[in-house]
């Protein structure tokens, strides 16, 4: 069964059709990319699948069960994690705390046990801190283990978002332009990181403009234009498809 199935999905904002009748499915263990020009509806698609927007029409299924109407936190409980194109870092917290928030659902969140610092909870919290630091090392943030989030450079914050999403222990990870705004060197690092994440067993859905990275990583690619599905297939199918060449080269 597909891990994620999107079926005839549409979203309209005040008459503007941002996503129109898009269908695709993502098998477990793959890296799946969504590409297309700016305004093609890629981020809207992500927002629909992760519960931030409610679709106008169509269905979204995780493990075959419809998730329409579920809130983002309910989707998180199903193992769906994501990062944001416009950074959503909690600047009022330490970098490490940002990652620790990511583990929210796996923790004992009882208010009273927390206030009176029950020993079991305190122990678990210390273990969590260790875990969060390991995740920061995993994404290459070993130099920022004690930093405040608001003192970190842009590139590091993008990785911090990935670490936070990984703290959820997701099955399905949505990365919204992880390489946007990065220099070539950093982009290469992110390329390697996404591969490492996929190798650890997380299914990755990627929105990205960097074609080299997309072609290097993706098992399958969905090309969108004006909110519609243009082409879907393996990277070779997509690379040589006349419509894609036309859309990208403007021919």
């Amino acid at each position: 069964m597909s891990l994620l199935s999107v079926i005839s999905l549409s979203k309209t904002f005040d008459g503007v059709k941002a996503v129109q009748n898009v269908s695709f499915s993502v098998e477990p263990g793959v890296i799946y990319s969504v590409i297309g020009p700016n305004g093609a509806g890629k981020t809207t698609l992500f927002n629909l699948i992760t519960g931030i927007y409610t679709p106008s029409q169509g269905d979204i299924r995780v493990d075959g069960a419809s998730v329409i109407g579920k809130l983002p936190n309910e989707l998180a409980a199903l193992g769906v994690a994501r990062t944001f194109q416009n950074l959503q870092i909690c600047m009022n917290m330490d970098a490490c705390e940002n990652v620790m928030v990511g583990a929210h659902l796996r923790l004992d969140r009882n208010l009273f046990k927390a206030a009176f610092r029950f020993p079991a909870l305190a122990r678990r919290d210390r273990a969590l801190k260790q875990e969060a630091e390991d995740l920061m090392r995993f994404v290459g943030l070993e130099n920022y283990l004690t930093s405040r989030a608001d003192s970190m450079p842009y590139g590091a914050l993008k990785r911090l978002e990935i670490a936070r999403a990984l703290a959820l222990k997701p099955r399905l990870l949505f990365l919204d332009e992880p390489a946007a705004g990065l220099n070539p060197r950093e982009t290469l690092d992110v390329d390697g990181l996404v591969r490492k994440i996929a190798d650890s067993g997380v299914t990755v859905v990627l929105v990205e403009h960097n074609m080299k990275m997309v072609m290097n990583l993706s098992d399958r690619i969905l090309v969108m234009d004006y909110g519609k599905k243009l082409v879907e297939g393996t990277r070779d199918e997509v690379r040589h498809h006349p419509d894609v060449i036309a859309a990208y080269l403007g021919a």
């Binding site: 998180a76 959503q88 705390e97 620790m100 208010l111 919290d125």
Partner: protein, 310 residues
């Protein structure tokens, strides 16, 4: 781990030596009122500073606690302890009832709704004169526990001190726990908190109810300590005073709450020499503080002197 509680030890030392330095009853009374305000402000800061949600009607909850402790024992013969719990339950339930719909709203709407709630409580207290004594207020019987009446200022000093210490300790713990990080997280980015699984409405409601209960309990303590309650405890001006303490001391700062409460409780005394100008002076201090230290005293000073923020 030790550093986390460093400030708590400092507070403990101050509390322990203060009674020996205080020259007379006037200052003891001031110290007790500072302590009471500090606990309320701490609870409010969890809501405003840490979770980023405004309440402009918090004095209403203080009023509920204070009048529960005055009305229930006086008119219905309830034991003061039961009355105190009843007040807290009432304040908490009212907060919970109102919070669910309110916390779907943002910023200014939230300010409006909480403000309205506080004003309604205040007007009810003023109008139900048969029970509350109306605008003039009413006396409160002393608090008794196991047959002992707590009626000396010395007793109250130690009781308030213990409450304060426990509150500070619990607040530090709470904010460094999964619960607290979720709250601070939704302040930093609501959508980010949501996508990692935080049920944001539930957390906002929980902290709002908790700080309402804090306020109600301390309202009861105030009532028994002063021996008298009046509806002005619950008025808009008092709500504003409390927010001011949060903001001047430092949002999202546990020790900022204490500093804010101490300074602004003392301020009217210090300004009493200004003969009628105290309102103006209070206003000017507020404005200057917000313009030159928008983060509040404690965080600003901590940053200035390179200290780690608590």
């Amino acid at each position: 781990m030790i550093r986390r509680y460093l400030g708590l030890y400092v507070v403990a030392v101050i509390i322990a030596v203060l009674p020996f330095l205080i020259p007379n009853g006037f200052y003891l009374d001031l110290a007790i009122r500072m302590g009471i305000n500090a606990v309320i402000v701490l609870g409010l800061n969890l809501l405003i500073g840490f979770a980023g949600q405004i309440s402009m009607g918090h004095a209403g909850f203080i009023g509920i606690g204070a009048f529960a402790s005055a009305v229930l024992p006086t008119h219905f013969g309830w034991h003061p302890f039961v009355a105190l719990v009843a007040g807290a339950v009432l304040a908490g339930s009212l907060a919970a009832l109102v919070a669910r719909p309110i916390f779907r709203l943002k910023g200014h709407y939230l300010a409006m709704a909480t403000l309205g709630l506080g004003i309604i409580v205040n007007i009810v207290l003023r109008n139900e004169a048969k029970y509350t004594g109306g605008p003039d207020g009413m006396p409160v019987p002393p608090f008794t526990l196991f047959g002992f009446a707590i009626d000396s200022d010395k007793h109250w000093y130690w009781i308030v001190s213990v409450i304060l210490m426990v509150s500070v300790w619990a607040s530090i713990n709470l904010m460094n726990s999964p619960f607290g990080r979720a709250l601070r997280g939704l302040h930093g980015s609501e959508v980010a908190a949501q996508v990692v699984g935080v049920n944001v409405t539930r957390y906002k409601v929980a902290i709002f109810v908790m700080s309402a209960v804090f306020a109600s309990l301390m309202g009861s303590v105030t009532a028994h300590y002063v021996g008298f309650v009046s509806p002005s405890l619950a008025d808009f001006g008092h709500s504003i005073e409390l927010i001011t303490m949060v903001v001047v001391g430092g949002m999202a700062s546990v020790f900022g709450s204490l500093v804010g409460a101490v300074l602004l409780t003392a301020l009217p005394q210090a300004l009493a020499t200004f003969e009628g100008w105290e309102t103006v002076a209070f206003g000017v201090i507020l404005i200057l503080c917000m313009i030159f230290m928008p983060k509040g005293l404690v965080p600003t000073l901590a940053a200035r002197f390179g200290g780690r923020r608590e």
